[in-house]
């Protein structure tokens, strides 16, 4: 079918075969794959490097140097976003662009869309790398990027990437779409839905501009508040967060596996039936699993149960992928010992199997009560990303390198070295952090003979982890070293490329209309009941074969599959008020507290501190009363957190003096020996922009927060300044610096917020709100 030719065919333009009529000529666009491949490795190294930096900071907190843009709370989102969206993202695009063209026997629909996709995505990554260290964040994990970048993502993903991909499917020359493409379809559809519905916001800068006619500062211009609050925001966020794992880190990589593994192993895929069953069960079940991130929180128990049982049911659908992967290697196992590419794939798929067994395990409520907020989760995700995503990516890249650069791989030895160094690094990382997670989880819940906490001082439960944090640094460094060897190998391979890449012209007929190629279903059973025959035909899967010819219909069914779980969880949460019982004494944050809360979000405090006390004795004894759903109705976004590197702050309000907080921000180690929290000197010198607080308050009011009288012209600013002065004076009286020095500093707003946290439920209920109405 393929012939060598040097004549150029541009874009998707279809030329006829010179001899035979009916055949169309086309050339695959490998240039775009090369670009995505380079981006994958380079951003991968950046992601791993930032990971190593923040790993060092946890073991040695002075490594933040008191510099704002190097602080853990700001860099950790950069690390996660880079690993997921830059490294894994570009790897997915490289895989999709390489395999889709070949599986469809068609060049990508539009070279322009391909280029817009590539450069658009790199621009998004650069924007992320610039905004996150500056503290510009939405404060929701893996959805930190602020609203203008959200819009860019939506356009680049759906229009450039999705448009290009689906138009290629429509113009394909292969009748049936292969299982890899099913997974790509699920990826594109679901990520779009997740991204859009978790990123609905009100931009505070625009509100400020419209209401007050003044240009907002960049800080306010880039600030947004989600339309969801508290419990609902938590549900949406973890519906998104978990399915980012499902549809950004799992389905596209299964697609990648289904193309590149049989190619590299030169073996047929183990079972077509298994592909069908595990694809649909995976897509249908995954979307329900999100609430397992919120066990024992203020999320209603029914939602938690739904999240758990669907996670348990997800075990076999996930393992279906692993079985199909490993079993495809039957007959090629002897090559695994000599071929580092297959080694990468085998370890990658094995890590996938381990992670997808561990996932259901961690989703079981009682297991989760131990693992949640600890490093166990961190170990779990690193097994997934380093092992599954990382090694599948490297396996794919090494397989593609000679094909993309049309030369020999520079060094198979270096490739094997990369594999071993990466594997050792990964194992060191994961084992140390498992140990850290279980150690800390057990220490939190340990009681002494008198029924009190054995380790009442939180810092004790962190100090003990430091040796394991150093092992993690070593593991991370090894993995990074492996990636650097990979980049070197790729660079050296590229250097021996031909002067001009050969572009092979392929020929295939266009799809004809009215296909009738299906063999009829056999009647296999000795049954003559109509139901029996129909059931037998269904089991033979011909209906699915016909679906594989109709990508649009296929896409619609995927959409239906993911919509069911989403709607069943979200609709009751928004419609049934008993899910979030109101508490009369819970009031909106004051303008200054709201400003402080925005600083809390901006500094990424949620990366180390939770705000959610679970109904366990060891938890309430340490932190205070159990958190209630009604306490979070003004929290936009919610800040429950997912990891306690520091203690929970849900009931922090009033527990310590302003001065303690002030000194603690100045240098935590001064007041809390062995604390690994970074210093925040910039909060002590940075000034509050009082005028722009109006933009914050007005945005919240627009979302239905009852600010009442405060919204009248001038009142907001006045109220904020008054409260700041009161706190500054109290701080001075407690022995802090003079009030005139601190009254306009960011630290005052942050203290105002911290002193409010969790205090509303113990307030005396006010009979009427006559006080607020009076002039």
């Amino acid at each position: 079918m393929a012939e060598q030719a040097t004549d150029q065919t541009n874009g998707a333009g279809t030329q006829k075969h010179p001899d035979q009529s009916g055949l169309e000529a086309f050339v695959y666009d490998d240039k775009i794959v090369r670009m995505f491949a380079w981006a994958t490795v380079i951003w991968g190294i950046v992601a791993f490097l930032v990971g190593v930096i923040i790993a060092i900071q946890l073991a040695f907190p002075q490594a933040g140097f008191g510099i704002s843009f190097l602080s853990f709370g700001r860099l950790r989102p950069l690390h996660t976003n880079a690993a997921i969206f830059a490294f894994a993202g570009n790897a997915v695009f490289a895989a999709v662009y390489y395999s889709t063209q070949r599986l469809c026997k068609a060049r990508m629909y539009s070279d322009l869309l391909s280029k817009l996709h590539f450069w658009g995505w790199q621009l998004i990554i650069v924007c992320a790398a610039l905004t996150l260290p500056l503290g510009i964040t939405q404060g929701k994990e893996y959805a930190e990027l602020e609203w203008p970048i959200d819009i860019m993502i939506a356009v680049v993903w759906l229009v450039f990437f999705g448009g290009n991909f689906f138009m290629t499917l429509i113009h394909r020359r292969e009748r049936h779409i292969y299982v890899a493409l099913w997974f790509y379809i699920a990826t594109i559809v679901t990520v779009t839905v997740l991204h859009v519905f978790n990123n609905l916001w009100v931009p505070a800068g625009l509100v400020y501009l419209v209401q007050h006619g003044q240009m907002p500062s960049p800080e306010l211009a880039l600030k947004s508040y989600p339309i969801y609050a508290g419990v609902q925001d938590a549900l949406m966020q973890w519906w998104y967060g978990h399915n980012a794992v499902a549809f950004f880190l799992t389905t596209p990589f299964l697609g990648l596996m289904y193309y590149f593994l049989p190619k590299a192993a030169e073996r047929p895929v183990f079972s077509y039936k298994l592909s069908i069953i595990h694809f649909w069960s995976l897509v249908f079940i995954y979307i329900w699993a999100g609430p397992h991130h919120l066990h024992y929180t203020a999320l209603p128990e029914w939602a938690s149960t739904v999240g758990m049982v669907f996670s348990v049911m997800l075990w076999m659908p996930s393992w279906g992928g692993m079985i199909n992967g490993l079993m495809t290697l039957r007959g090629a196992w002897h090559r695994v010992s000599t071929d580092p590419i297959l080694k990468f794939f085998v370890v990658g798929i094995t890590f996938y199997g381990m992670s997808t067994f561990e996932g259901p395990l961690l989703s079981i409520k009682s297991v989760n009560s131990l693992s949640h907020y600890t490093d166990w989760t961190i170990a779990h995700v690193h097994a997934g990303v380093l092992g599954w995503n990382g090694f599948m990516t490297f396996g794919m890249l090494y397989w593609m390198m000679p094909r993309l650069f049309q030369t020999e791989l520079y060094s198979k030895k270096l490739c094997a070295m990369h594999f071993w160094i990466g594997t050792i690094g990964m194992v060191l990382y994961v084992l140390a952090i498992y140990a850290a997670g279980i150690t800390q989880g057990l220490m939190w819940r340990a009681f002494d003979a008198n029924g009190r906490l054995s380790y009442p001082d939180f810092v004790e439960t962190v100090t003990v982890l430091i040796p394991m944090y150093w092992i993690r640094v070593v593991g991370g460094l090894l993995y990074l070293t492996g990636a650097c060897i990979g980049l070197y190998n790729m660079f050296m391979t590229w250097r021996t490329r031909p002067e001009k890449y050969e572009e092979t012209v392929h020929y295939a007929p266009a799809l004809s209309k009215g296909y009738k190629g299906d063999p009829p279903a056999k009647v296999r059973l000795g049954t003559n009941t109509k139901l029996g025959v129909a059931g037998d035909k269904f089991l033979q899967g011909n209906w699915h074969r016909s679906l594989e010819r109709k990508p649009v219909k296929f896409t619609i069914w995927v959409f239906v599959a993911i919509a069911i779980g989403t709607l069943v969880e979200a609709i009751p949460m928004f419609m049934v008020s008993s899910n979030v019982p109101t508490i009369a004494t819970v009031e909106p944050y004051t303008p200054l507290e709201l400003t402080g809360r925005d600083i809390y979000i901006s500094e990424g405090c949620y990366n180390c501190h939770s705000q959610m006390i679970r109904p366990f004795l060891w938890e309430t004894m340490r932190y205070g009363e159990v958190s209630k759903p009604g306490e979070f109705v003004y929290d936009r976004p919610f800040q429950w957190g997912s990891r306690r590197i520091g203690p929970d702050l849900a009931r922090e309000g009033g527990l310590r003096t302003h001065l303690w907080h002030y000194l603690h921000f100045k240098n935590p180690a001064d007041v809390s020996e062995n604390s690994i929290m970074p210093r925040y000197p910039w909060l002590l010198s940075g000034k509050i922009n009082f005028e722009e607080i109006r933009g914050r308050v007005d945005s919240m009011a627009l979302l239905g927060v009852p600010y009442g009288d405060l919204l009248n012209e001038g009142k907001t600013v006045e109220h904020a300044k008054d409260q700041a002065l009161v706190i500054a004076l109290e701080l001075e009286e407690q022995g802090g610096p003079p009030a005139e020095e601190t009254m306009d500093k960011k630290v005052i707003a942050l203290i105002a917020y911290l002193q409010r946290l969790g205090t509303d439920i113990s307030k005396e209920p006010v009979e009427t709100d006559a006080e607020e109405v009076s002039p």
Partner: protein, 204 residues
């Protein structure tokens, strides 16, 4: 499915995508079994946990634990009014005093230091004879409950009255250890000695 294993294994399908072929192999039986098992588990879990009284609700389970823990930790203290006798009784009981120490380590050391020696500018030394806000032993209870008027010390709102009594008793018991503290941590003046503990090891 097992009976088809021999004759239908590794049969290639007609599919060919860029050279990739697929077998028509059946799905392993254990896959079906476990998948079905997890589905049955899901249904049973929902029914048992949410629709039968066998498993107590999350809230009920927590409340039971709290009640049991209060009984175990505080025993007869729960019936005693908050007075000097109560504090002295705790001071005379090693187990209760050690509970007081645990509360102290989780609550007070952030300002008063790991050994109650005080932290410059934040908390006073509690091991010497000088006191700034305390004239008698019940003033300690009042301080922990309400904080100081000038807000230099906040009220510890997360503690219940029995915990407050225990931590106050422990704080009182530190007097006389005279751990050297930073400059200024010995503010205040010497006060009358606290009354003696009531020695009673029962109930702790």
């Amino acid at each position: 499915m097992a009976d088809q294993k021999n004759d239908r294994y590794d049969e290639l399908m007609s599919h060919n995508y860029d050279g990739i072929q697929e077998y028509d192999n059946p799905i392993p039986g254990w896959w079906h079994l476990i998948f079905l098992g997890t589905c049955v588990f899901a249904v049973l879990y929902i029914v048992i946990v949410h629709f039968t009284p066998i498993v107590p609700s999350r809230e009920e389970a927590y409340n039971r634990k709290v009640a049991a823990a209060e009984e175990a930790q505080f025993g007869k203290l729960r019936e005693m009014p908050m007075d000097e006798i109560k504090i002295r009784t705790i001071m005379g009981n090693d187990a209760w005093l050690s509970t007081g120490q645990s509360i102290f380590n989780g609550t007070c050391t952030v300002c008063h230091g790991k050994n109650a020696e005080g932290i410059s500018g934040l908390g006073l030394n509690l091991t010497d004879d000088n006191y700034l806000y305390v004239k008698n032993i019940m003033d300690i209870v009042d301080l922990v409950t309400n904080g100081t008027e000038n807000k230099k010390m906040p009220a510890q709102t997360n503690l219940n009255p029995n915990e407050i009594a225990m931590v106050a008793a422990y704080a009182a018991s530190l007097r006389g250890k005279n751990v050297p503290g930073p400059e200024g941590s010995d503010a205040g003046e010497a006060i009358e000695p606290f009354p003696d503990p009531i020695m009673d090891q029962s109930g702790g």
